[in-house]
Subunit: 347 residues, 2 copies
DNA sequence: ACCGGCATTGTGAACGTTCACGACATTGTG
DNA sequence: CACAATGTCGTGAACGTTCACAATGCCGGT
């Protein structure tokens, strides 16, 4: 915890370049910040000195006095997963495009204490705002207090209270995938879900249920994995063992598990899509090269990042009568892992 | 570029809690920093006030005066790829474990200007050090000037001068994979490489050449992709069309391309591994569920992150007579995408 | 009673900026 | 020639800490 002393040799300051130019630090400050009222000759002179000396503004000092920051915080969980890591990358991109830097705070686990620690850390650094991607649904109402009067936005997360956020219509997207199978003629559609503690898992599962209900179909069997290919493989093996005759198609909560599922079918001598159709979720880059190429749902993470950042900005500009909520709609991408049901399928 | 004003309401300061406790700000500072010489009664009293008021130290101020920072910078490129994103995650993890935060600077492209900008930004924030993952081999000797007397470490990158770094033995690992095939009995081994501008691509390609040379085998044909599955697919199609008879095994520069390659073989009626063996590189989580499960080389990104951070620390502690260089060795993981050569293979 | 030593607390300065002013020189206008 | 207006620049204070040091109180020993 104790941080080693960093004996950084004294950096160039405003005063250094001022001295060299024979002006006051204030004048230098002015040209750094592009203030208008400084003679062109001196501006040029100072600019040159800045370059020669390699002056870099000290953000800590600037920030201390100006009380405004150009850093935003990002708290995430499960960054080794595709979705979270994509969000991370895209937020950074959006921030950079807007001239901001991002400071990361990864969570080892999602609980109130860890979150509080992360938020506190970020606040200590006086970030201008915090973006949070908290994919697990736990009671986060403490955040409401913690973040009062503090710009923050929920990224595809449910905090248990209305908060500025950007939400992905996971349920709708999942319905879309299910409907695709229904339109193909499937009537018995199974589901391979992820732990419902995950918001995305719950919503996607719900979307499957919704689509079935809307079509007056009863839900097929389901199994549960943990997002990984292995778990998808094993869960599907179970599904095959216990419910083989009860479904002709399988909707899977993410592409990795879908990959595992396909392997499970294959090893059981069940052909995809001839015998059973499979659709996934996420459209990871490899999905197009699964065998068969996976039909799946593509999420627009770039939009999540940009909208999330924009959501912060609207809070800064103060035009916040009510928490702004953005939504982004996934799209279905059709490939070859699903086809019409065959007579070999369910009895 | 112009940042919006963030009217953050005045935060709790040392003085606020000092006033409430009837002590001086210094005493409060002492208990915050865990200094020993403060009476237990007052310590408790202050701790309580800190908690009640929700005091958070202002890092900007702390940092300004103490001239030491608890933030490290990380500049990376190509974060949508598996390797770079893994590095990103693991560096953050290692930093957090050591009580540090990481500020991120992603590069849109790898050139001197972009790098200079990123480094300057990070320096402006007075980071305690910078970790750089610059996977492209361009002339980076300007960094030597830019970073003089500044703690930084190269992550699996070659800066063109000796720098503190953690290097992955990509070449050795690639030789390992190739030797595996040689030991299986293959004599004609092709390679599917990535653009040699990438350090990892060049080293892995070199490793293949080295292994072949050591075994007195002449290099088989090779093709080039761009790390993606699509490119691997197309490059392999080319390989099949032009050199089908010239190889019984294929070493691929990463798993994604290997996936594409496998599909290409399959679509061409060539069985893996019966007709041609394939080994990949990276061991992405999905690799075990490819069809067939992919034999590949696993990199230890956790080690890269930790060692990289440790490398920074040794620089802080000043015991740097010469740039410390850490190395990490990948391991080969055997699965089912490679077997002995068949008579159906090369003539 | 005095002094040294220890434990505890306070004081002043400094870090490198920005902000709100004020100062000075120059120009235009009556 | 006076005066205001403008353009250009400098000054002092403040931001919230830490650091080095000084100050205070109390205790025990001589």
């Amino acid at each position: 915890m104790k941080s080693p002393r960093v004996e950084q040799q004294r950096a160039i300051t405003l005063n250094d370049v001022a001295a060299r130019c024979g002006v006051s630090y204030q004048t230098v400050s002015r040209v750094i910040n592009g203030a208008p009222d400084v003679a062109n000759a001196t501006r040029l002179r100072i600019l040159k000195a800045v370059n020669d000396l390699g002056y870099r503004p000290n953000m800590a000092a600037r920030h201390l006095v100006s009380r405004r920051s150009t850093v935003v915080g990002l708290v995430t969980f499960g960054t080794s997963l595709y979705g979270p890591s994509q969000i991370m990358i895209n937020v950074e991109e959006a921030a950079k495009a807007a001239g901001y830097s991002v400071m990361f705070a990864g969570l080892k686990q999602v609980n109130v204490e860890e979150i509080r620690r992360a938020v506190n850390k970020l606040c200590a650094y006086q970030v201008a705002g915090i973006l949070m991607h908290l994919p697990l649904e736990i009671d986060l109402r403490i955040l409401q207090e913690l973040c009062r009067d503090f710009p923050f936005v929920a990224l595809d997360s449910d905090f248990g209270f209305v908060a500025p956020s950007v939400l992905v219509h996971q349920d709708r997207a999942s319905s879309m995938a299910t409907n695709y199978l229904i339109n193909l003629g499937h009537r018995e559609i199974a589901y391979l879900r992820a732990p419902l503690l995950w918001r995305a898992a719950r919503l996607r599962y719900q979307g499957w249920l919704d689509a079935l209900k809307a079509a007056r179909l009863s839900p097929g069997p389901f199994a549960e994995g943990d997002w990984t290919s292995v778990s998808g493989f094993e869960a599907t093996l179970d599904l095959i063992k216990n419910h083989r005759k009860e479904f002709t198609a399988l909707v899977v909560a993410n592409d990795q598990m879908a990959l595992g599922a396909i392997r499970a079918f294959e090893e059981s001598g069940i052909r995809v899509p001839a015998d059973v159709s499979v659709v996934g979720f996420d459209d990871i880059p490899e999905a197009a090269f699964f065998r068969p190429p996976l039909s799946t749902v593509k999420q627009d993470f770039t939009a999540v990042g940009q909208l999330g950042f924009q959501c912060l900005i609207t809070q800064w500009t103060g035009a916040s009568v009510s928490p702004k909520i953005y939504t982004v709609n996934p799209t279905f991408v059709e490939r070859y892992s699903a086809s019409g049901p065959s007579r070999h399928g369910a009895k």
